[in-house]
Amino acid sequence: MSLAQIIANLPALVVAIPLLLSPVAAMIPVAGLAWMLAVIGSGAAFLCALLLQGAVTGGESFSYFLGSWPPPWGIEFVVDAPSAFTVLVMSGLAFVTTLFARTALLAEIAEADAGKAYAAWLLACGGLSGLVMTGDVFNLFVFLEISALSSVILIALGAGRDRRALIAGYNYLVIGAVGATLYVIGVGFIYAVTGSLNMADLAGRIPEVPQTTVVMVGFGFMMAGILVKAAIFPVHVWLPAAYAFAPSAVSSLLAAIATKAALYVMARIIFDIFAGMPDMTGFALQFVLVPLALGGIFVGTILAIYENDIKKLLAFSSVAQIGYIALAFGVSTTAGIAAGFIHIGNHAMIKGGLFVAVSAYAVLLGRRINLTQMTGLGRRMPITTTAFLICGLSLVGLPLTAGFISKLYLVRALLEAEMIIILGLVLASSALSVAYLWKIVEVLWKPAADHAPVREAPALYLPLWILAIGNLWFGVAPAPLVDAAMRAAMQLTGGM
């Protein structure tokens, strides 16, 4: 393939490379080779995403016709600021977690399964990227299922260590399938009154539809399906178990990228497809999404404070962070949406880093860990723990970290929209989140009973510190991230 051909096909390659390398990886019984393939696949997808991001910096957007059929007859991929931004964040995090997956994954699953595990890994990466790129509402459902089924496989791989992974996988499968089917019902109703499946075409046709009840119900069911996938409170129930019982490497992949795609899709549905119905979406945002987001923030934070299993604690914290992103979208001004996108990027880095560090502990300790077992780890693994601490401080939102930038923009958006009460609640929940972080930090530096020698897992340094430094870097020089998120928000709201 010549360079010109590659450039012309970048949007398809982001999705197709991981999906096509996956069957190859499945056939390779050698764990190392399969891992190499996974690194190549996610790395190539990351490169493509970088190039795509470069292509939309000027505020352009273009679409890619799969099979050369113009929409609405064929399926198109939409490359604009929001999709390029989200796909860049996701493929970047996927690449970094793949880098470290070799050591961490092999510590927890049988080597003979590794080829198939990496195949599922690649499928999850490709499926989630496809979810973001596609401009067709039914194609979105197909990618939703690819990512869901491959995530279930990855979660169930944890059964080698803990049988509860099977139940986590089953619940995720059934809840996810119900969510996807609700989404399909919504699409069916919208299709019945518009005759189209293409997002851009739908956006044009929906305001002209006389049957407003159908549009409202269709919107409601599509949103309900996506809320399940995004793990928004109160349909987040699958998430904590899934993250906690999956192999640690899988937890870091899923925590970094899985819900981000669904959140992006949610923004797309609200601000793009149904943009022509501002009364309806405004009502849904104000009276449904914002209260649910606030509920998620508090429930997640409080459950995290009382949780003792470190992976579950981080998972509950994810529920809270997803709440922040949803809240930012709920503000629905350009500044609010931008804050949401900024936090999509930052939270991916934060949670990715935290879970990678936890994997490092798990590799060392060789088992699932709760807080008491982590006593004194800060002294035994200072390098890993420092990175963990940086990501943790970023999670709380300390100045000079990426998390601070997220909070800053969220607060500014809330002030601008004059949502003072909600602002107070956000600040209060931030203060609460210090509690669970402190709980971990305290344990980590408590002197251990036995004076075990310093043992580190150097194979994990590179990806871990990439993420930690990323957190610092974007805390000090947030301009590229913020600019990209701003462009994304501007394009979604039509430059308001």
Binding site: L19, S22, P23, A26, P29, L66, G67, W69, P72, W73, G74, I75, A107, I109, A110, E111, A112, D113, K116, A117, A119, A120, L123, G126, G127, G130, D136, F138, N139, V142, F143, E145, I146, L149, S150, V152, I153, A156, L157, A159, G160, R161, I185, F189, Y191, A192, V193, T194, G195, S196, L197, R205, Q211, T213, V214, M216, V217, G218, G220, F221
Partner: protein
């Protein structure tokens, strides 16, 4: 007219089967009934002109799914323990409320939909006419469903193949794989799969 009556009969059958499924406690009849549900809906698809869909539903829903359920039933207990509705209304009330609310919403929308078969409904006038027209004149393939499936929406079908592949991969990992414990595998006893497992 015949189509109308057939449709009515088949819908009544579907409702009948659904009620049976809810009420039956033995899992084996439930599985067979699920197969029958698929089969009746396949007949319904034929009546609604969706022959390709009927073909697939008969092969998959009534065929493969049922065989898989049966194969699984060999290992599973054949009877449901106390079903939730037997424990009192409190155990099924939340589910009932969710379903009724969702159902009422859908009914409110369905009443507004263009009636079944209305030739002026948006789906019939917007995108689809081009498929019907071009499939004959440009692609020269009579089965429009094949054309749309493999060409216009070929990417959907690519995704579908990937989904099937994912399911195959998952079942191989779960039932013929080595997830039992990492430590057993590492202690040199890899690949005990009883002879029938996938040896690749």
């Amino acid at each position: 007219m015949a189509g109308y009556v057939t449709n009515l009969l088949l819908l009544a059958l579907l409702v009948f089967i659904l009620v049976l499924v809810i009420r039956t406690r033995r899992l084996f009849p439930v599985v067979v009934l699920a197969g029958a549900y698929s089969l009746v809906s396949a007949a319904m698809f034929v009546n609604l002109d969706a022959v390709d869909v009927a073909f697939t539903e008969a092969a998959v829903g009534a065929g493969i799914s049922t065989v898989l359920f049966l194969a699984a039933m060999a290992y599973l207990p054949g009877i449901e323990k106390t079903p939730p509705e037997a424990k009192g209304i409190g155990h099924i009330l939340p589910a009932l409320i969710i379903c009724i609310i969702a159902g009422l919403l859908l009914v409110a929308a369905a009443i507004e939909l263009p009636p079944v078969g209305d030739p002026t409904a948006p789906p019939h006038v917007h995108v689809a006419p081009r498929y019907l027209e071009e499939s004959g004149s440009f692609l020269h393939i009579p089965n429009v469903v094949t054309t749309v499936l493999a060409s216009y929406r070929g990417f959907d079908t690519f995704g579908e193949v990937v989904v099937v592949f994912t399911a195959g991969l998952g079942v191989l990992v779960l039932l013929a794989g080595f997830t039992r414990t990492a430590r057993i595998a590492k202690s040199g006893k890899t690949g005990i799969d009883g002879g029938e497992g996938d040896d690749a």
